[in-house]
């Protein structure tokens, strides 16, 4: 996979892109505004000229008006040396053309159709002109209407616009580069909390899993991320702690039986014995080793379960039928112990048959083991909205409240006095049960009091695929 561009690069590029777009847009708007301003300015100038001409042409001036008119015409040309005039009749006879510069007669005629004055610009003799065209109806009856055009040279405008464009052409790239640098600097500064997080994260090692990222001293946008990372660290720390507990539990559990086996074997080997003696020792070793290998597979099962077990396949299961099958299994044992087994209620859950059976089997064997002789083990299944509750209870000595949650710990064996026989397991049964129930999105808890101990399992009625 291609490595994505760095955030700083992305932000810088974005900054450059945005700032150049803004600059170019602004330049364009300014350009248009200046251009419009020039047109308005020229129009104003030309309007006054055309008005003078209109006055001159619409009716013959009285004698006493002549000096004033003369003066205004003089002023007109004095104030605007580039001013050009063009007058023609509607029929196309040129009455006046102040310059040899070609006026675009056709376009002027076309524009003169309207009543209002129109602005027009054209190119002639390497100069640009802007003119105002107006149609005048003289008051004398026998004279045709006239088309009057006043024009000025607008080369100075063009030169200005040219200079303006050139300036922008240089300024915009420079400004873009500058804003890019600024953006780069801002991005680096803005992203500095990330480096802080990186430094803190680098400090988290196996031996210092308790280190956390600073959630308070990072910007708001990053608190979510750091929080999630911290939660991940919490989970990691928890898993790591479990793993190391697992190893030490295992070592501890293995040490005693292994050393017993070793001692026993060495003692037997120390001198020659009868075949019967050897047989006896080997048989006892086999029993012990069998137990050990069961502990190992149970531990591995638990380790897998605690790391999130995936249930291979699920099906609809009638809990009451599963309990009936298990009762059949435990029937003989219960009878020997004088314990009666009863169950009531029915419900359907979705789950893996082998796993649920194993969980329930552990609960039943636990109940049988701790039941008082001649006592009673009962299973109650209740289907409450959305949840199936299964209770396994036995009569027997109560368990102190503070010990109840610890019942599900690995290798936890309660007070040996409460157990009727010494066939007690290795203390993994309830831990395995809990793991199996959890794999089915269920919960399990223990209650005890008044001579009755109760394990309550709650399972979703039709559990979706148990969380992997």
């Amino acid at each position: 996979m291609k490595h994505p561009a760095s955030l700083t690069t992305r932000l810088t590029l974005l900054f450059v892109l945005v700032s150049s777009a803004v600059l170019i847009g602004l330049a364009w708007v300014l350009h248009a505004a200046v251009e419009r301003h020039f047109v308005e300015m020229d129009r104003g100038i030309l309007q006054s000229k055309v008005e003078v001409l209109e006055r001159l042409l619409s009716r013959p001036p009285a004698q006493e008006e002549l000096p004033a008119l003369q003066q205004s015409v003089d002023e007109m040309f004095r104030s605007d040396p580039g001013l050009q005039l063009f007058v023609e009749t509607a029929g196309g006879n040129v009455l006046l053309s102040s310059t040899e510069t070609a006026f675009p007669a056709d376009r002027i005629r076309a524009l003169a159709e309207g009543k209002t004055p129109s602005v027009i610009s054209w190119q002639a003799d390497e100069s640009r002109y802007r003119g105002l065209v107006k149609r005048i109806e003289p008051e004398l009856a026998d004279i045709d209407s006239l088309i009057v055009t006043a024009a000025i040279n607008i080369d100075h405008h063009d030169r200005f616009m040219d200079r303006y464009s050139r300036t922008l052409f240089v300024f915009i790239p420079i400004a873009t580069v500058f804003s890019g640098l600024l953006g780069w600097w801002a991005a680096r500064r803005g992203l500095s909390p990330l480096r802080l997080i990186q430094e803190r994260a680098a400090a988290v090692t196996a031996s210092q899993l308790s280190q956390r990222l600073p959630e308070d001293s990072v910007p708001r946008e990053l608190t979510g991320l750091t929080h999630e990372l911290n939660c991940m660290l919490d989970r990691l720390e928890e898993a790591f702690r479990r793993l190391s507990n697992f190893s030490s539990d295992l070592a501890h559990e293995m040490r005693t039986p292994v050393s017993n086996l070793l001692t026993q074997t060495q003692v037997v080997l120390s001198r020659s014995r009868s075949a019967a003696e050897y047989q006896e020792v080997l048989a006892s070793s086999a029993e012990e080793l069998d137990r050990l290998s069961r502990v190992i597979s149970d531990m591995l099962f638990l380790a897998k379960a605690e790391n999130g077990m995936s249930t291979p396949s699920t099906q609809e299961l009638r809990l009451d039928e599963e309990i009936a099958d298990l009762f059949e299994f435990y029937d003989a044992l219960a009878e020997e112990e004088g314990v009666s087994l009863t169950s009531s209620g029915r419900a359907v859950v979705r789950g893996n048959r082998l796993m649920l059976r194993r969980a329930l089997s552990n609960l039943l064997s636990n109940a049988l083991r701790h039941s008082r002789p001649g006592g009673h083990v009962g299973v109650f299944i209740r289907d409450r909205d959305g949840t199936v509750e299964l209770t396994v209870e036995n009569e027997g000595a109560a368990i102190p409240a503070e010990e109840l949650p610890r019942l599900f710990d690995r290798f936890y064996r309660g007070d040996p006095a409460r157990s009727r026989d010494d066939t007690a397991g290795v203390g993994l049964g309830l831990a395995i049960t809990q793991a199996l129930i959890r794999a089915h999105s269920g919960t399990i808890r223990a209650e005890s009091g008044k001579g009755v101990t109760r394990f309550v399992v709650e399972l979703p009625r039709s559990a979706p695929m148990p969380a992997a």
Binding site: S285, L289, F329
Partner: protein, 226 residues
């Protein structure tokens, strides 16, 4: 019956060979994959025990090559990997059974016998007999020395298992799985209790004992105790 063991761990291989030889099989042991495959392709074997992790060529490859080469003897995979995917993969590639280390030798022997029996395709018997004990499978009746024995359904199933596999040591886990469909290790002595109760009905009223306990391994039904 010829059995081939392909197992690189020398102690395991040696004990398996000894155990199976003493159980009456002719056993060849190979310690690496390439040699094992060669043997399996050239010699006729009735059964193969195949370790998955092997030097040279792993068990998966051997299994695949054998099945593609048309070898159809039962193959029992031995592995330390206990993952569902591995199990499925092994069975997909044509393995007949799958045993996870560490396993009890009695369990292995029981499975080997099952596989070999399956291959033989014997007709289903309707009655079973061990010494003077007789089991009528159709009529669901057990008699010993002409005397009718009353059994519960599960006791009958347990006795049937013992009689079908007479002479074989049956580990407790196998009994729990075959009779009660409890396919996991239980830390209770349910099987002991059940066997004890069965003995009370089948053995105790009579002169000779048919069900023997083999300490550390399981139970066996034999006509004449050795």
């Amino acid at each position: 019956m010829k059995v081939l063991i392909v197992e690189d761990e020398s102690k395991t291989g040696q004990y398996l060979q000894q155990g199976l030889t003493e159980a009456g099989y002719t056993v060849d042991l190979s310690r690496d994959g390439v040699e094992g495959l060669h043997l399996a392709l050239t010699e006729p074997y009735d059964l193969m025990l195949l370790d998955v992790m092997l030097p040279g060529m792993d068990g998966w490859q051997i299994l695949e090559t054998l099945r593609r080469g048309g070898r159809d003897m039962p193959i029992l995979l031995l592995t330390a990997k206990d993952r569902v995917e591995d199990r499925v993969r092994g069975l997909d590639l044509g393995a007949d059974d799958y045993l996870i280390k560490p396993f009890a030798f009695s369990e292995l022997l029981a499975r080997v016998r099952t596989l070999l029996r399956r291959g033989r395709g014997e007709p289903e018997p309707t009655t079973l007999q061990v010494a003077d004990l007789e089991l009528d499978l159709l009529g669901h009746r057990a008699t010993r020395a002409g005397q009718r024995i009353d059994l519960t359904a599960k006791e009958f199933a347990l006795l049937e298992l013992f009689m079908r596999r007479k002479g074989e040591v049956l580990p407790r886990s196998l009994i729990a799985s075959q009779v009660w469909d409890m396919n996991f290790d239980s830390d209770t002595n349910v099987v002991e209790v059940a066997v004890r109760r069965l003995r009370r009905k089948v053995d105790e009223p009579f002169d000779t004992r048919l069900i023997r306990t083999i300490r550390g391994m399981g139970y066996v039904m034999e006509a004449e105790p050795a």
